[in-house]
Each structure stands twice: as structure tokens, then as C-alpha cells.
Amino acid sequence: MKTKYILTAAAFALSSVCFTGVAFAEAESDEPIIIVQNNWTSQLVLSNVVGQLLESQGYTVEYVPSDSQLQFSAITNGDMHFQIEVWEGSMKTAFENAVEDGMIDAGTHEAVTREEWWIPNYVLDVCPEAGNWEGLNACADIFKTAETAPMGRFVGPPADWGKNYAGRIEALQMDFIAINVGQAATLWAELQSAYDREEPIVLFNWTPNFIESKFEGIFVDFPEPEAACFEDPSWGPNPDAVDDCGAPSSAWLKKAMWSGVAEEWPGAAQIMTNIDFNNAQIARAALLVDVDGMEPEDAAALWIEENQELVTAWLN
């Protein structure tokens, strides 16, 4: 047994003679920069874009999967170093708490995000006014299921995503019941199944997201929120209730960074701060994976190739 290990080790050493790697540029620290990966497509591709850009500058990069809420304490502690997509709609509180604890807000993307009720286009054939909450409510009947009848069913996000849709339904006196799923994949499975059969469905969705490249549909418009909506009952359609409004139709998308990055890898910190995506660029990145079936790594490489000019600007 022992001899075998020695042999393997020798072989391992031998390989160093056979291969000559790329010469690394001068980087500040040899330690790997750890980039957070979440479980949705655009984030996977964008984090690979960042990683490959850093690698091209001679840094060592590692990708670590993480939950979208827990990641912030990990970034604050320096267990992970960079997150490319921070969503206002679902991560605002966790993000702001972490910034208070010392995490770095590495800037806002040009891209805007939206998280709202969403319907496939074929719903408009049976209910032409469904693009607006009042029109949608008038057709609540077509969305009913055995458990929710006579109310319509709204397939909502996981309970801890910080959305109080039951509250909004009540405040707007809508004829819907919110059924909360356990995770995003459940939403997509519901959508896929309904879409294939053209069954009416209204569910929680967000943009930018791979869904828009696979399914055609629109967001339902709710009253645009103002601070008064959440404090003053007289504001909005229902004079006796707060929360009678929707989510902002354009919310921010930010980047998050560990406070130690600027010290350990000042060059990398500058690049990460420079990076800025817009909606079309993010949608393109997601499309390469979700429609063209590429792996996130390959999609990222292709994306960089297609956007050389932009990338060069970030790197300088």
C-alpha cells in the first residue's frame, strides 16, 4: 500500500514537468477570491463572468454555493468575498443589516428589477383586462382550484421571502387565496405544467429571470407604492387599509463585497466595483443557458467574448 502512495505522489510530481501553466500576472494575494453562487441562472452566469475576468488578471477564484439569505453573514465574516446580484425585493433587509455589520456595498447595477404577480399571455385571451389588478380580480373565477374555490388561486413565493401577499389581497379586497410554495423550482414546475396545457395561472415572478426567455407573459400592474401606502389607510384604492399597493416596478440590483477585499486584492476590489450590468446584458446571459442549453461557465466565456469592449472598460 505504502509503495503505491509513493508512486502516486511521484507521478503527481512528474506531471509538473509535463505541463507548463500560464504565467500568472502579479496579483496581490495568492489566496483564492471566493465568489458566491446562488441557484438561479443569471446569477450563475454573471458570477462566472466576474470569476473569469478576475482569473484573466491572474487572481485565483473559487465559487461557493450559498443560500440567498445566509450569504450575507458569510460575506460579512469573510467566508465568502463577492456577490454579483443583490435584489432589493427579496434581500433588502438582510443586505442592509449586513452593511451595518461591516459588509461593503459595492455599487448598484444599471439593471432594474421587478417582483410582482405575473400571468402568461394566453390568459389575456380569456381575460383581456388581466394585466391590471382590477381586471385580474374580475376574472378570479378562472384561476380557482378545488381547494381554493370559489376564490382564485395565486401561487405565491416561499413564506420567508418577505412578501405579505395575503395582506395585500385582503387590503385590496381581491377574490384570491395565496398558496405559498416552498422554493422557486416549485413555481416553475407549476408554470410549466399550466403553460403546456394553457391553463390560466397567476403566480409570483421576477425580472431579470430565465422565465422571460422561455415563457411569454406580463406582470400584473398594481398601484405604484409610496411611503404613505404603508402608513396612511386613506391612501390608495381601499380607504380603510394600509398595504393596498404593489411592489416597486423598478427596484435596485446591487453588488456586495467583503470589507477585507480592498486590502487583500486592491486590484480585484476595483474591478468588482467597476462591474455594471444592464437588463439586456443579464437577460442575454441567462438566455445562453436556459434556451441554448449551455453550461454557465461556457455561457460566461461567450458573453465576455461578445462584450469585449465593455469588459475592457471594467478591467481598466
Binding site: T3, K4, L7, T8, A11, F12, A13, L14, S15, S16, C18, F19, T20, G21, D30, I34, Q37, N39, T41, Y63, V64, P65, S66, D67, S68, Q69, L70, Q71, S73, A74, N77, D79, M80, T145, A146, E147, V155, P158, A159, D160, I179, N180, V181, G182, Q183, A184, A185, T186, W188, A189, E190, Q192, S193, D196, R197, F210, V289, D290, E295, D298
Partner: protein
């Protein structure tokens, strides 16, 4: 009135009278005080908050002088990280500072082949290489190596810790009295519940994932060690003592070699559990196949997920076969082969292979890292097939779904929800007293009380409702299949094969098709549980019927029983205790699945555990996990007591 007279009273009164009495008490309670349905929040012991605060304190502020506890856990993690790093350098990453590439894939496949041949022969060699080739050809090599590096480091740790704890238990009564019930508890607690405290103490990434894996995979090793050492025949030990062994020599040179078979079974269990954790560990930052599988599911790429799941299964099967073959190797006592080359033929072949493959890898990049253009996948075809099926079958399934949901499941759920908790405490106590006596009754009652007092009553009731419904269906499906398998060996081979596959396949994959067909709802949860939990019902029914003594069956035939009578009047009653143990296992599996079906959407204890992770709410996760364990333990105690009583009656006590 003493306890014994209470037991007599219970046994003397007819069962229906007791039920009527309980029902009356229940109705009275239902109308008298809301607190009997849901304990008012100011009576609930805030254990959840205490545990969360304790772990936050431990993770952030706890310190001895200047030295923080957090620093201790972090440096512990750093130590554990070193072997893992080396495995990663070796298997897939290469060593950057020296520009060393990872070991080429062809080298590893051939090494697997030579190793397989060395311990068993050509069959195992080809099987090993075939499975590894699958990983390469389907483009899963790198992720498989990521998973494998966690496995090759976790398994030795789990085995060593398990071995040590096992030895300790066999030596010290006090250790046994603490450790054995802890193992019971650990095995009944869903994997996910371990993750929250691990994240608080050790952070995120490969190492915490490894720690969670070791904690989960270690108990079977310890159990097998205890069993292995305790079942060594006394003659062997005595002969060891007569030869003048010191206690240490007796352990390492006599007891452990003699119990080797059982110990290797433990190793095998550790390997299986380690891979079973592959997917769940990716929730706390493990990279590899598990992470890729969850990502595929997230994007509804079911076909890709199946391929990744299969890769996990294949790694498990290969490691299982290799360890089994190694354990079963017969000692070769023939004189050593005189020719040095022939004697060390595997070593020679290995050396030659290394040289050849490294030269190949140097000449052709494909031999070092298989380019993606040379891999393929059937993923999209499978996706289309699943979608086609769900689109076409939906019309037939929907009425059934609606009927079951509206007229069976929802009424059952509503009934469960209006049962006052004191009634449940009393019923569990009465059942415990009848079946197992005072200590069983007290144990079960206090477990129920704990669930009530810690504020988990409603999610616990919903869990029991889901598990109860699922188990009923499992029995309706599993027992007939088990009977069928016991009638024909050919059927048995196929059925048991399917059972093995169902159990090793990562259960997350079942969720997506279930949702597509049945929508979010209780029925989806139940069906997802079925895929996993029916297996023990089938297996134990089969084993139970096979275990009925042939003499008894022949006597039944001689008495002129029809096959139907033979089954219903002779075989099933005799196999019933065994079948009940199967149902016990089914309940355990169903409870374990509850944490996973939470991803569909539910309001039960599984959801509490799953939600605790993103909010880092340790108390909620740990207590909900323990509540699931408590339900499992209550069911286990009652069923075991019943089976023991029954076996005694039938005269088949072992």
C-alpha cells in the same frame, strides 16, 4: 390508585368504552377552552429563542478570556480543511502555486480498474471503470470529483470517530447510557436540522458541509462497532485471554478482526450516508454533484438532474462494491509467487499505467481534461417526455386529485386539527401503558408534552396528518407488493432491485414531476413521500413472509387450507410482527421525507426546519427536528412494544 391498578383497569374495560370516554373528554375540552387546541403563547416555554440566543452567543461572543469560541471553531475548521484541500488538489483542482494540473481522468479510471482487479477480479474492475466512464462521458467529471473529495475525507473521519465511540460504549456502562439514546435521537432527526447549528459555528462552505456529513454518517459505524465487538464468540475472547493478551491487544488483535464483517458493514453504511448527504450538504455550501442537481431542478432541467442523481448513485454503488469486496477477500495462504514481477503484478501495472497515461495527457489535452464537446447528455429528451406525460395525463389525474383532496385529505386534516392536545397525551399514555408498561407510557407522554410546551403543536399535528395519510397508502401499496414478491423469486429480484434504486436516488428529483401533475398541495407532499417510504413496507413484508417456518406452512397445507386461507389465517398473522417493524421503518422514512417535501410548500415541521436555515434561526430548526424525532420515537416505542407482545403470544420471540 397506583399505576398497576390503572393498567388493570385499562385492560379490563372493553376498548370501545375507552374510546367513547376519550371522545367525550375531547368534545368537552373542545368546547371548554381554546388553550386545549392551541396553547396560548404566554404559556409556551420560549425554548426556541433560548437555543437561538445560545447559539448566537456561542458563535459570536462566547470567549475564555481573550480567546473567542468562534476562533476555536474556525481554527478547528481550518485544520479539517487541510486534508480536504489535498484531495481537491489531487482530484480536480491541480496545485496552483506549483502549476500542477489535477490527475488526468484516464489515470483515475484506470487506477479504479486496477484497484478493482486487485481486490476482486475482472468483473469488479470493468464495473468500476464503466461507472467512472459514465461520469466522464456525461460531462460530470469535475463535479463528481468535487463530491468525491468530500467523500474520501469524510468517510475516514466518520469511520474513526464511530469506531472510537463504539469501543467506548462497549467498555463503559456510563458511556453507553448516554451515547446509545443520543444515536437513536440523531438517526430520527432529519438531516437538514443539523445544518443550522453547523452554519452558525463553522460558517459556510466545503468544511461545514463535511462536518455535517460526518455527524450524520457516523452513528451507523458506532452501532456496527458495538454489535461487532459484542457478538464475538466468547470462545475466541477466552483463547485470546489465555494467550496472554493485554486488553489493548485483545481489542485490536482479537475482537476487531473477529468482528470485521460487521465493521465493514458499518463502513458501507457510512459511505451510503455520506452520499445521501451530498445534495443536502450543498445547502450549506458543498460544491459538486449535489449543488449541480439542485441548480438543474431550479431550472426545471429534470433530465440533467436525473443524470446528476445517477452519478451520485453510481459513486455510491462503486464504493459500496469495493468496500464489500475488500471485506470479503479471502486470505491467501499459498506460498508467495517467486517471480517478483508476477507477485506485484498490480503494482507494476499501476506504475506502467501512470507513466503511459501521464505521457498521453501531456500529448493530448483530451486525455487530461475531457472537453465538453466530447461529452453528451440525454437531458432534454427526458424533459420533453416528462412534460408530454404531465400535459396528457393531467386530464385524467386532476379529477382524482380533486376528489382525494376535497373529500379525503382535507376532512382528515380538519379532524386532526380539532383534536385537543390533552386527549392525544392521554391516548398515547394509555397505549403506552397497555403495550409496554409504565416507563413507555411516561416517555411517550412527556415527548408529546414537550412538543406542546415548546410551541410546535400545530405544525406537529400537520406533520402527523401527512405522515399518517402517506403511511396508510404506503401499506396499501407496499404490503401487496411484498406478498407478491414473496411468492416468486423472479419478482422478488426485480422488486428489491427497484427498491434499492428508489432509496439511493436523491429524493429531491421526485418533487418536480409530482408538482407538475398534482399542483402544490397536501396530495403532492404525500405522493412525494410515497416514492421513498413504501420501500420498507415492501421489504419487511417480503422478509416476514419468507421467515414463516416451512413446517407451519406445510401443516397449513396438510390441514386443507386454500392458498387464500393459508395467506390470511397462517402466514400474515405470523409475519405481522415483522411487517409492523416495516411499517415502523416506513414511518421513519416518511418523517425524514417531510423535511424535503417542504420544498413543495407545506406548513408542517419540515417547513419549520427548512425555513430555519435561511433565517439562521437555530432554535426553530433544532427543535422542529427534535419534534420530528419525538414523533418517530413515540411511534417506534409503541410499535416495538406491540410487536414484542405479539411475538410472545405467537411463540416466535427471538
Amino acid at each position: 390508585m397506583g399505576k398497576s391498578t390503572l393498567k388493570d383497569l385499562l385492560e379490563r374495560t372493553p376498548l370501545w368504552q375507552q374510546f367513547v370516554a376519550i371522545a367525550l373528554v375531547g368534545i368537552a375540552m373542545f368546547f371548554s377552552w381554546d388553550g386545549f387546541l392551541r396553547l396560548p403563547s404566554d404559556l409556551i416555554i420560549p425554548m426556541k429563542q433560548w437555543i437561538t440566543q445560545f447559539f448566537n452567543w456561542l458563535g459570536n461572543d462566547a470567549a475564555i478570556g481573550e480567546y473567542k469560541f468562534k476562533q476555536f471553531t474556525r481554527s478547528f475548521a481550518l485544520v479539517l480543511k487541510q486534508p480536504l484541500l489535498w484531495a481537491e488538489y489531487f482530484l480536480y483542482r491541480g496545485y496552483r502555486p506549483l502549476d500542477l494540473p489535477p490527475v488526468p481522468w484516464i489515470t483515475l479510471i484506470l487506477a479504479g480498474g486496477i484497484f478493482g482487479h486487485w481486490i476482486s477480479g475482472w468483473r469488479l474492475a470493468l464495473f468500476t471503470m464503466g461507472c467512472m466512464l459514465y461520469l466522464a462521458v456525461f460531462g460530470l467529471w469535475r463535479d463528481s470529483m468535487r463530491t468525491l473529495s468530500i467523500v474520501v475525507i469524510s468517510v475516514p473521519f466518520a469511520v474513526l470517530i464511530g469506531l472510537w465511540l463504539g469501543i467506548w460504549v462497549t467498555r463503559s456502562k456510563r458511556a453507553a447510557s448516554i451515547i446509545t439514546p443520543m444515536f437513536d435521537l440523531m438517526q430520527a432527526t432529519p438531516h437538514m436540522a443539523y445544518l443550522v447549528p453547523v452554519v452558525i459555528l463553522f460558517g459556510f462552505g466545503q468544511v461545514p458541509a463535511m462536518i455535517a456529513t460526518v455527524i450524520f454518517a457516523m452513528p451507523p459505524m458506532a452501532r456496527c462497532t458495538i454489535l461487532g465487538i459484542q457478538t464475538v464468540p466468547p470462545e475466541i475472547i477466552e483463547s485470546g485471554q489465555m494467550s496472554g493478551c493485554t486488553p489493548r491487544q485483545l481489542l485490536w488483535k482479537v475482537q476487531i478482526p473477529a468482528g470485521k464483517r460487521i465493521l465493514m458493514l458499518g463502513v458501507n453504511q457510512v459511505v451510503m450516508q455520506t452520499l445521501a448527504m451530498a445534495v443536502i450538504a450543498s445547502l450549506v455550501g458543498a460544491t459538486g454533484l449535489g449543488q449541480k442537481l439542485l441548480n438543474s431542478l431550479q431550472q426545471l432541467k429534470l433530465g440533467a438532474a436525473v443524470e446528476q442523481g445517477l452519478a451520485i448513485v453510481l459513486i455510491a454503488v462503486v464504493l459500496d462494491r469495493l468496500t464489500q469486496a475488500y471485506a470479503n477477500r479471502t486470505n491467501n495462504y499459498s506460498p508467495p509467487e517467486p517471480n517478483l514481477m508476477k507477485r506485484h503484478k498490480h503494482l507494476v501495472a499501476f506504475g506502467a499505467m501512470i507513466v503511459v497515461t501521464f505521457i498521453l495527457a501531456w500529448m493530448f489535452e483530451e486525455a487530461s481534461v475531457l472537453p465538453r464537446s466530447m461529452t453528451f447528455t440525454f437531458g432534454t429528451q427526458l424533459d420533453t417526455a416528462v412534460r408530454w406525460f404531465s400535459a396528457n395525463a393531467y386530464a385524467y389525474i386532476q379529477p382524482v386529485r380533486d376528489f382525494l383532496t376535497l373529500y379525503v385529505l382535507l376532512p382528515v386534516r380538519n379532524f386532526f386539527l380539532i383534536v385537543p392536545w390533552p386527549v392525544v397525551v392521554l391516548m398515547v399514555g394509555a397505549a403506552g401503558l397497555r403495550l409496554g408498561g409504565k416507563s413507555v407510557a411516561i416517555q411517550c407522554m412527556s415527548l408529546v408534552m414537550m412538543i406542546v410546551l415548546f410551541g410546535f403543536w400545530v405544525p406537529a399535528v400537520l406533520t402527523v396528518y401527512l405522515v399518517f395519510s402517506a403511511v396508510i397508502i404506503c401499506i396499501m401499496i407496499g404490503v401487496p407488493i411484498g406478498i407478491w414478491a414473496s411468492r416468486s423469486d423472479r419478482v422478488a429480484t426485480v422488486v428489491l432491485g427497484i427498491c434499492d434504486t428508489l432509496q439511493t436516488f436523491p429524493s429531491f428529483i421526485y418533487l418536480i414531476p409530482v408538482i407538475m401533475l398534482l399542483k402544490v398541495g397536501d396530495l403532492s407532499n404525500i405522493v412525494a413521500i410515497l416514492a421513498y417510504a413504501t420501500v420498507p413496507a415492501i421489504r419487511y413484508t417480503y422478509l416476514g413472509l419468507k421467515g414463516v417456518p416451512t413446517v407451519t406452512v406445510e401443516a397449513a397445507i396438510a390441514n386443507g387450507c386454500t392458498p387464500r386461507q393459508r395467506l390470511l389465517k397462517v402466514e400474515l398473522p405470523l409475519a405481522l410482527p415483522e411487517i409492523m417493524l416495516g411499517i415502523n421503518q416506513t414511518i421513519m422514512m416518511a418523517l425524514a421525507m417531510v423535511a424535503i417535501t417542504a420544498l413543495i410548500g407545506s406548513r408542517d415541521l419540515g417547513q419549520e426546519i427548512y425555513r430555519a436555515l435561511p433565517t439562521a434561526d437555530t432554535g426553530r430548526g433544532v427543535l422542529a427536528g427534535l419534534a420530528i424525532a419525538a414523533i418517530g420515537i413515540i411511534a417506534d416505542r409503541l410499535i416495538q412494544a406491540w410487536a414484542a407482545q405479539r411475538k410472545k403470544l405467537l411463540g416466535v420471540a427471538s
